[in-house]
């Protein structure tokens, strides 16, 4: 009905993240790019599990008249997204610690200048 717009937004987020990684020179910008891709993939997972007019899969004080399988959104993508979010913050922390160390060693965050290895 709305032309799959959330899916298009997901692809756009992934491409913006890739743009940041490929065309930006700053290391922290690269990390931000990876965070954006992460968010895009998370949004994609949740969007896949959405059913129109459905409620969250929680039985505590459920609105009356909810059809049991059809009236609820998918629980599995939500569980997967939880995992994915925690993975994202773990990777981010590790990358930023490495960046702090790189800055101590090279004194710069420019991706072209740290290329000590050829």
């Amino acid at each position: 009905m709305i032309f799959n717009f959330p899916f298009i937004a997901v692809i756009a987020l992934i491409l913006i993240g890739l743009y940041a990684i490929i065309f930006r020179k700053n290391l922290i910008k690269m990390v931000i790019g990876i965070t954006i891709i992460q968010s895009g993939v998370n949004l994609f997972l949740i969007t896949l599990g959405y059913r129109e007019g459905a409620v969250a899969p929680i039985f505590t004080s459920l609105p009356s008249g909810t059809e049991i399988p059809q009236g609820m959104v998918f629980p599995i993508p939500q569980a997967l997204t939880l995992t994915s979010i925690v993975i994202g913050v773990a990777v981010l922390a590790l990358m930023l610690s490495l960046i702090i160390h790189i800055y101590r060693h090279y004194g710069t965050l420019d991706v072209r200048k740290i290329g000590g290895e050829k």
Binding site: I14, V41, L48, T83, I87, V91, M95, E117
Partner: protein
Amino acid sequence: MNFVDFLLQHSPALIVAIPLLGAFLTPLVSRINNKVRNIFVIIILLITTSIVLLLALDVFAGNIHTYIFGAKDLTLPVVRILFEVDAMSAFMAIIGSILLLVSVIYSWSFIEENSGLDKYYTLVLLLAAGMFGMMLTGDMFNFFVFLEITSIASCALIAFWTNKGKAVEAAFKYIVISSLAALFVLFAIALLYGQYNALNIAVLGSVIQFSYLDKIALVLLVAALAMKAGIVPMHMWLPDAYGRAPASVTIILVGATQASLYGVFRVCFTLYGNTINLSPTSIGWIIVLLGVITMLIGVSMALIQSDFKRLIAFSAVAEIGFIFLGIGTGLTLFANNQMFGLIGSTAMSGGIFHIINDSLDVGLLFLVAGAVYYATKETSLDKMGGLARNMKYTTIFFIIGLLAISGIPPMNGFASKLLIYESTFQLNPILAIVAILSSIMLLAVFVKVFHSVFLGPAQPKFKDVKEVPKTMLFAMGIIASIIIIFGLFPDLVINNIVEPAVNALINYSEYIRQVIPTFTGGF
């Protein structure tokens, strides 16, 4: 039910759970004593290895093990996580356990002088759990989770020597590349999930249709996992990471790379096995071409390196090209039953045999490089020379590794390379010629190393260099003896270990039927 049966039944879960438990206990154990901690880690890995061998013995006899987490019986649709161990998984798990055990024995003296060793051993055990999980799992998302565990643990271990800027830089490159690859894998998994509402590999393999979205997912999975496996031109992180990590870590990284390689094959053969007829051999040819490029570029770059470990890393890239060539040849002919029987299965047994040979050879060479670094604190080839006088055993191990990696009989590399040459020659002679050429160039590369490091007149600055400690020699000796045994009795290995793995990859319908008994398809 006796103990062994119990162990066998629960072995897929225990193989992952024991290293995990060990990793969680290591910070507590290391409060006691350093020696206790080392012994604890070795014991944990020994237990894991013995369970892997127990499981592998049963799997090679023809049983596929499935293990369901949280329920006794399998229900359809599959909602729980499955571990599904066929001969290919068991084969990979054997490689991983050998490499881990050797690495831990080697680290005893190699890494002794550094600080932060409790964290080091924790991460090694976590890496072990991640690798085994990747190899044994039968669930796509679970595969992604273990992929991430493997990459995060490897990244932290690559940066172990944080006082060296280049090590930190290599770790950063590694984590960017691997988290990106993992994200694309997750995206592909989500694409498949959105279409078929399933996450299990067997279930997905039974319903997959090769629609447009499936093609996108296939490309993303193959490209991302190939990048993690170090296929040219996405291999550039690999020499950086291998070259800068401590040698005891590098040998585990070899195993982690092979786990990604296993992911490529699992995706191509099992997940997309039922639809491979629909794509006119294109994905097989892509893999063959990638393999050829990988061999050539890897070996050419190795020729002009002047850093010891970096050189070995580039030759490791070239070796992965051989594996890709062998298995890609099989995949090319997968749809063609008659040709496959003639050539394809030989090529695939060559490729799969080469996985274990490659990890052993490259592992041994990395350990030798680490030993040389330990003794001389030097990695540049230009500054070394005449070390054979001081380090006799290391030199012998290097010669064994040299002969093995360049495919000289009677070492193990020869047998698998012979299989690859002969089968690819029948597919297309140019492939075999390129393969032989790369093999010869590998020999040239390592003769150069042999000359510049071990031969030549005694250098005055290395007068006081001593042989490395016994534990390191012992670790190298384990690998060297396996190499010689495999080289002398290749028939034994191929019949008992490699053939079941090849059959497991080919008969994807068996793998699927373990979960969906009504599946009819495949050969």
